[in-house]
Symmetry: C2
Subunit: 465 residues, 2 copies
């Protein structure tokens, strides 16, 4: 939907009026509220929708989408607004569908290790709900995002090395198509070979192919024992090599997180931890008491062989929290490195054999560019984040950061990596789609978009250009 | 591509002639060869292609597809021909692309735990190739299928409960589109949030959206220790409940296979094993020596609580093979139950909580219908196979089996299951797509097919009707 194709104002006014007469106070055109629904978490311009509607059922979503399709008005699905690349902005106006009130856990099937949720349930709310069942949902992006949003961005987090990403943890979806039809992508069986994988097509589509109104998710048994610990390394390379060896050895590590020296320094400053300011790996192992002890001991040996250590670890929950404090405080500690600055988070992901190179080159770039930007990585997946501390009032600072972000993506792509491992494309990384994918692959993505949404009303201006 | 839309004979003749002038002896119109390439492994009619071409590169595939698209001639990709639902039949004639000569392992990236293969590499050939690397590829359907075929049918097998299915083990694909363009679906990073999941769209598409010419696959470290064993149960229900409890407890079982009493009887007859003729679970655990022993012991406790046992297990390779002999011999033993009969294998998959019901009702149906049909299940996934021993010369027997197959699918679907967990739709299960998927979901699948392949030349008459 190019700029000149923004819907005519009378169409928007008509749709807003009609929705208002149905939704009453659940439709709002309040400017503050509209702007809140379009925040970008970066320096990206705030582009508010024309109205926000708070839906409570798939039928209501279908009603909104049907009306919008009829009049060519954009639809922007909204969960918690914690996406990082401008996913919820409304560059062509339109109707923002806030799914936050669709927050019921519809069913938990403990024997099948699955549950059925509405899209507005957040990951923490789901795990609170599950507390007494002995089960949990493992995917944990930083924010307490909605599950619908996590599906739409193909989110992951610290546990992905063990439990996979959202792609691996959705059994089935209910979706309202751009035609306003309510469909189901698959049945509840754990696997199927019956037809095209519509589920995986909606996972990561960022609301550009339809609105997710229900999801059937895989659950995991809460491990009997958890060991956690922290291990310093002489270099990023040694830490990355330890990660590779750990995974090659078949140690089923549940979390393996890298903090670079600057991130460790930040945590020391912020939380008075007194850690050695070198790269650190933080690890977690899930299993029986005996197996997590064995895994921890084996990791300690690997770390030692690579010049790292000592690996301090424990199976006691309180001590584990203490050892992991550096990770828990990382975000706020980072902010403290530059008071008054805003933190802009970005991510790339490369084959793990290239990770040390990619991180080291990125550190040199940060140094050269004069930025303050700690690095934190889900290194088991080859995925890392740079948290850029930006003075939003200084155009020169923003320009420096933009240049850095561009080089970071180029570096990742040159190493057979992706421009985003878990944040998504949104508005801000669209320009890299042509570099990441060949023209033929992009043509297929566009063909899917056109086939599903010929009028281009679903979250226009995102993913594809 | 409805019947009346079979390509005109002159078009076929022209394409065959043009391909012949390029491929020389690598193009064949020999009738025996053509029929071999269209076998169905059932009573389904053999529908041979007009010609078979043995390709050696993606460029050659692109050449064939481009020419066929231009003249509206069907293209049928072929790996080893071990698919079970008529996937390689050519109901409208056309050109069969035999990918068997594209059988190079292009690269092994041991640090990244991935490899790049041509589609004609079989799973056993890949594991032979990997032998000295300490790595293996875990997906193991019964046959020594080609990896391209396994991707196309979204295959799995005994290891899926631990390592997932083909859907979970493909990082990226090179595909020749119906327009004859060579595209890549993703980069080599372990995860990505950059755009629509084209990879998963081609996994399970059964060659109806393009021809896979290269695949980047995940590998696993060969476990340090493997424990294997066999455990009798008083009933299918007890065996299924033990499976559920095992998985809920977080025991990372690598294989958990159910043999029903008839299957055990068959093995006794065939291999003189002297096993108690009750339902049996066969299990395998992967890990360190200590952890597989712990897992085995814990499973033994669970089995005991449910009236099963004794669980005989070992970590010694030769003894493990002996204990697993019942599973290894299952197929041939089944055949021996009815000498001269042909074995027709089918599969359904249901949520695991419904598995005991589904198997028990299916056994009663087999009994009532007067069939001889042992059952064998990948029970950790809720997936099971019925091996029907059919007298192919007796239309009444075939009719009985067809009736049974229909009821089996209905039963699986009524339990929120799928009409196929791992064999695929092919020709023979197309009629169930309307029952498994709602009209809106099917419309989206058709929209994808039309968008990718507007002339409908790619493996017509499969998956969708």
């Amino acid at each position: 939907m190019p700029d000149e194709m923004s819907p005519p104002r009378p169409a928007v006014a008509l749709v807003t009026r009609e929705l208002g007469s149905y939704f009453g106070e659940r439709l709002s055109t309040n400017q503050t509220l509209r702007r809140q629904h379009a925040h970008t978490l970066t320096w990206g311009e705030n582009q508010p929708p024309d109205a926000v509607v708070f839906v409570q059922s798939a039928q209501e979503v279908a009603r909104v989408v049907t009306l919008c399709t009829e009049h060519g008005v954009p639809v922007i699905p909204y969960g918690t607004g914690t996406s990082l690349e401008g996913h919820v902005n409304a560059p062509f106006g339109g109707i923002c569908i806030d799914l936050g009130q669709m927050n019921r856990v519809v069913a938990v099937h403990a024997e099948d290790l699955d549950c059925v949720v509405e899209p507005g349930v957040t990951r923490k709310a789901l795990n609170d709900f599950l507390r007494d069942t002995g089960l949990f949902f493992p995917i944990d992006p930083g924010a307490d995002a909605s599950l619908g949003g996590m599906i739409s961005t193909r989110a992951s987090g610290t546990n992905a090395v063990r439990y996979g990403t959202m792609k691996d943890n959705v059994l089935s979806l209910e979706v309202v198509t751009p035609q306003g039809e309510i469909i189901r992508t698959a049945r509840r069986a754990k696997k199927s070979s019956a037809g095209y994988d519509l589920t995986r097509l909606f996972v990561g589509a960022e609301g550009t192919l339809g609105v997710i109104t229900q999801a059937t998710l895989k659950l995991q048994g809460i491990p009997e024992a958890i060991a956690g610990g922290i291990c310093p390394f002489p270099s990023v390379e040694a830490a990355c090599n330890a990660t590779i060896l750990t995974i090659q050895s078949g140690i089923p590590v549940a979390r393996i997180e890298l903090l670079d020296a600057l991130q460790v320094k930040a945590v020391n400053l912020h939380s008075k931890l007194g850690l050695t300011e070198t790269p650190m790996l933080l690890l977690e192992f899930h299993g029986t008491e005996a197996s997590v002890k064995e895994q921890s001991a084996r990791f300690g040996e690997i770390a030692g062989e690579l010049g790292g250590g000592p690996f301090s670890w424990t199976v006691k929950p309180e001590e584990r929290s203490r050892l992991w404090q550096a990770r828990h405080d990382a975000y706020w500690a980072g902010l403290a490195l530059r008071p008054g600055a805003k933190a802009v988070a970005t991510d790339v992901c490369v084959p793990i054999s290239r990770l040390a190179d990619c991180v080291t080159q990125t550190q040199a770039d940060i140094e050269r560019t004069g930025l303050i930007a700690p690095i934190l990585g889900h290194v088991g997946d080859g995925n890392f984040h740079v948290t850029l501390l930006v003075d939003m009032d200084d155009p020169a600072d923003i320009a420096r950061v933009e240049g850095f972000l561009h080089r970071l993506v180029q570096r990742g792509l040159a190493m057979e990596g992706t421009c985003t491992g878990e944040h998504g494309i949104g508005q801000l990384k669209r320009k890299y789609m042509r570099e990441e994918h060949d023209a033929g692959a992009l043509a297929l993505m566009r063909a899917i978009k056109t086939a599903f949404d010929p009028k281009g009303i679903m979250n226009p201006g995102k993913v594809l250009d």
